[in-house]
């Protein structure tokens, strides 16, 4: 019997650029040309100022750990315990993800730790962006701070 797989996304016209990017090893998010803010998840207009003048760009892949849970129950395609995390991209938007190359423990997973994106190929169509502790030189990298 094949191993049970995790649920995979089915791209829509509005999200196609994101999944095409992930397959190519790029984290592609959107930015509004009118107000300058980056946003996620994908849509063809800015959620902040409603402008339709938006563009897709390649994000740096740098992020910080915003929050998470460590799930202890079985889920198809996962071996518990595993963390379900929300990361904050350097450009501002947040996204849900998994954390790799790090122990799935409260001690190892410290909020605001710097992370970087890597891509896990699931099949010919879908690669998922996941994050690991940052290894690259991060000159000028600003971790997400406490909300004010």
């Amino acid at each position: 019997m094949p191993e049970p797989r995790r649920p995979l996304p089915r791209p829509t016209p509005e999200t196609r650029h994101f999944w095409d990017g992930a397959r190519a090893g790029e984290l592609r998010v959107q930015r509004c040309r009118a107000c300058g803010r980056a946003y996620f998840p994908p849509r063809p207009f800015c959620p902040h100022c409603a402008s339709g003048d938006v563009e897709v760009f390649r994000a740096s892949g740098r992020a910080t750990l915003y929050s998470y849970v460590i799930h202890h129950r079985p889920v198809p395609g996962f071996t518990p315990p595993y963390a379900i995390a929300v990361v904050q991209l350097e450009e501002g938007p947040r996204m849900m993800t998994n954390l790799v190359d790090v122990a799935q423990t409260p001690e190892a997973l410290v909020l605001d730790m710097p992370l970087e994106v890597v891509f896990q190929k699931q099949d010919d169509a879908i690669s998922l962006p996941v994050f690991r502790p940052a290894r690259i030189d991060r000159a000028g990298f600003k971790p997400a701070g406490k909300p004010t």
């Binding site: 791209p11 998840p41 379900i84």
Partner: protein, 380 residues
């Protein structure tokens, strides 16, 4: 302004709660509806407005034999019923209908006659959350709390205390599913579900339902039970994806909904004698206390730890035992409303003395939506 113009005259839950394998979900709606109609001496022929979630109001009206002039199928999760109260009050005040029935029934535990959950791999949450191993509310509703703990210093023990205090209330309620006293240590030693949440910090999964009947304040005095007036209401939504909340330490939907309800009612938090905050998980009363303005930001964990919400405390909270100990069918908001009605009527099993104003605040989805209802023993 609808303030005080509409009242709840009938309120009841299903005859049984907990595990009800011999009733379909539709029949749980009907059982609750018939009990609420009996509570106010009406029959389905007297009802001309129907609101529900989880089933279509069309199906409920047909099953019960109602010819509606007004329908509301607002379905935004467990707070849908708070929002139904709000919409019903506006509809009655506008003359769209005169007598509204709001029903809830859910076979959350036995799964008899239950439809599937909506959503799929092409939805936004199907694309951007489900691939990372989310598996229902315990893995999603819970994600914000570590951020709250880091930013405001909430401790694991304070989180556990929420469950301990609510079990104290449940111990006074014969219909509560779990009634034995708990300690912080008991909660902390229960099985980890999704760190930092243990089993006893997660809600029950039960079968049951409840229903309400609303009429204008003028007519309300002619019914057998003391009317419970709708003094103020609010509703809002934020995001269907928890990962996209603006701030993991506060709910925008809670703030918008709560502010609207308190403003319409013309009250401040200090005027509230009794409070229900939908507790699917132990952190929700903490967010609710702060976002509704009962305590300053970052202080709710300490407020509960210090005993302010327990029996005899200055702000009795979740006095039926809550979703953590009383019952939780899936969309629990109806049960928070039922307990607020009982407290204002003076008929609750764990009755708080002198309840003139009660607030029932609900959440829908995982911080996706909110509804708030201010109830009172006088129209204002």
């Amino acid at each position: 302004m609808i303030r005080g113009k509409v009242a709840i005259v009938g309120a009841a839950e299903t005859s049984e709660l907990g595990e009800i394998p011999d009733k379909s979900q539709l029949e749980l709606h009907a059982d609750a509806a018939r009990n609420a109609l009996a509570d106010c001496g009406l029959t389905p022929k007297d009802i001309d407005g129907v609101a529900t979630a989880g089933e279509s109001p069309v199906g409920i009206a047909h099953y019960l034999g109602i010819t509606p002039r007004w329908l509301d199928g607002t379905q935004v999760g467990g707070c849908s019923f708070m929002i139904h109260v709000r919409h019903a009050a506006a509809a009655i005040a506008a003359g769209y209908c005169e007598t509204v029935l709001i029903t809830h029934g859910q076979s959350g535990r036995s799964r008899v006659g239950v439809g599937g959950f909506p959503g799929g791999p092409a939805t936004l949450s199907g694309q951007f959350e489900a691939p990372y191993g989310t598996a229902g509310p315990p893995t999603v509703f819970t994600i914000p709390v570590l951020r709250y703990m880091k930013d405001f210093g909430l401790t694991h023990e304070q989180l556990a205390m929420v469950a301990v205090v609510q079990r104290e209330w449940a111990g006074r309620n014969p219909r509560a599913m779990y009634r034995d006293p708990l300690s912080v240590d008991d909660v902390r030693k229960s099985r980890l579900i999704a760190y930092p949440f243990h089993l006893l910090e997660c809600c029950l999964v039960t079968d049951g339902g409840g229903a309400l009947v609303l009429v204008s304040a003028e007519r309300a005095r002619d019914f057998p039970k003391r009317p419970v007036y709708v003094l103020g209401t609010g509703e809002s939504s934020e995001t269907p994806m928890v990962s996209q909340m603006e701030d993991f330490t506060t709910s925008r939907a809670f703030r918008v909904s709560g502010k609207a309800a308190f403003s319409e009612a013309g009250i401040a938090p200090g005027d509230v004698d009794h409070l229900m905050i939908y507790d699917a998980f132990a952190h929700l009363p903490i967010y609710g206390l702060e976002d509704l303005g009962f305590v300053p930001r970052g202080e709710a964990g300490r407020f509960i730890w210090d005993g302010n919400t327990r029996p005899g405390g200055k702000l009795p909270l979740n006095t039926n035992g809550g979703g953590l100990s009383y019952t939780h069918t899936g969309m629990y908001g109806m049960f928070a409303l039922q307990e607020s009605v009982r407290q204002v009527r003076g008929t609750a099993p764990a009755q708080v003395p002198g309840v003139h104003i009660s607030v029932a605040h609900g959440v829908g989805g995982m911080f996706a939506a909110a509804g708030t209802v201010v109830l009172a023993d006088a129209p204002g």
